[in-house]
Amino acid sequence: MAPQQRKPHVCRNPDLIRGVGKYSRSKMYHKRGLWAIKAKNGGAFPKHEKKAVAAAPAEKPPKFYPADDVKKPLVNKRKARPTKLRASITPGTVLIVLAGRFKGKRVVFLKQLTSGLLLVTGPFKINGIPLRRVNQSYVIATSTKVDISGVNVEKFDDKYFGKKVEKKKKKGEGEFFEAEKEEKNTLPQEKKDDQKSVDAALIQCIEAVPDLKSYLGARFSLKAGMKPHELVF
């Protein structure tokens, strides 16, 4: 047991109403045992002498006073945190993307990145959605979950998805245009391999559930008579 673990002490002087305690000053004196402390100290309450304050070095008056009073900005102690994740979104949840190129597609949620965006994958073979970032606000979480324990998503972070900064080239006009075109079109092999490795384990788990594969391949749409506020996702 850790040394000096005390049970949390109930208040000695409970409030009758806010600002009014149950016990009077003299009762509290006895309750706190101040008489015992005094007795131990020979009749007077123990004092300790003030610590000698080191003499502050003589401050010179400043040479320069600003003309106007500048207001100091208020102190801000807030910390940057990733967006609070909805309780319905857990790793392995099937999400419905609502906006963008893949609107209506059903997608598997992998993890939340430090920027707050959700890391998501189709899987690519099933519905053509690669490892991608998606904002939580543009997503409906369904209650269907896929087992994601066999997938390693440690290496993916926001930098992985950032735009690649190209080094500035000197402008030789003819060469300039050709070189640009070549670099933009291809996806680096590394990213393709990452996609394959993440999807391999996922697809096995998906195929274990009947119809789940075709479910992920299909798009969601509202049909006649479907009321979104009454639908259970």
Partner: protein, 133 residues
């Protein structure tokens, strides 16, 4: 067109408005022209306006205001639960509840099943048409 379902002690009714919406309750006493004393195994006995109740065909044998134990025994004896769930009204309500609680994945699976069923029906129809033609 005479009435068939009467308000009487022992009449099973469905609550159609209010906190207990959708529950089956038993009319245990009549208070006045508008209200009944109503009881069910999972609720505290209380009064309810007749306008909040819809009478069913089911009736059980109880005396006026029985205690909870007797009421539950009478409900068992009258087999109210099974009668209700096998009646067409009860079955409809069960289907409605099931449909409302369907998952997005469930809806997808149902769509596939409907398409499959329609395909089979159409095949059979084509066969029959061929025979008669």
């Amino acid at each position: 067109m005479p009435f068939k379902r009467y308000v009487e002690v022992g009449r099973v009714a469905l609550v159609n408005y209010g906190k207990d919406y959708g529950k089956l309750v038993v009319i245990v006493d009549v208070i006045d022209q508008n209200r009944a004393l109503v009881d069910a195994p999972d609720m505290v006995r209380g009064q309810m306006n007749f306008k909040r109740l819809t009478l069913t065909d089911i009736k059980i044998e109880i005396k006026r205001v029985p205690n909870k134990k007797t009421l539950i025994a009478a409900l068992e004896a009258g087999d109210v639960k099974n009668k209700w769930e096998n009646s067409s009204w009860g079955r409809k309500l069960i289907v409605q509840k099931k449909r409302a609680s369907l998952n997005d994945f469930d809806r997808f699976k149902i769509m596939l099943a409907k398409i499959k069923k329609a395909g089979v029906v159409r095949q059979e129809l084509a066969k029959l048409k061929k025979e008669t033609a």
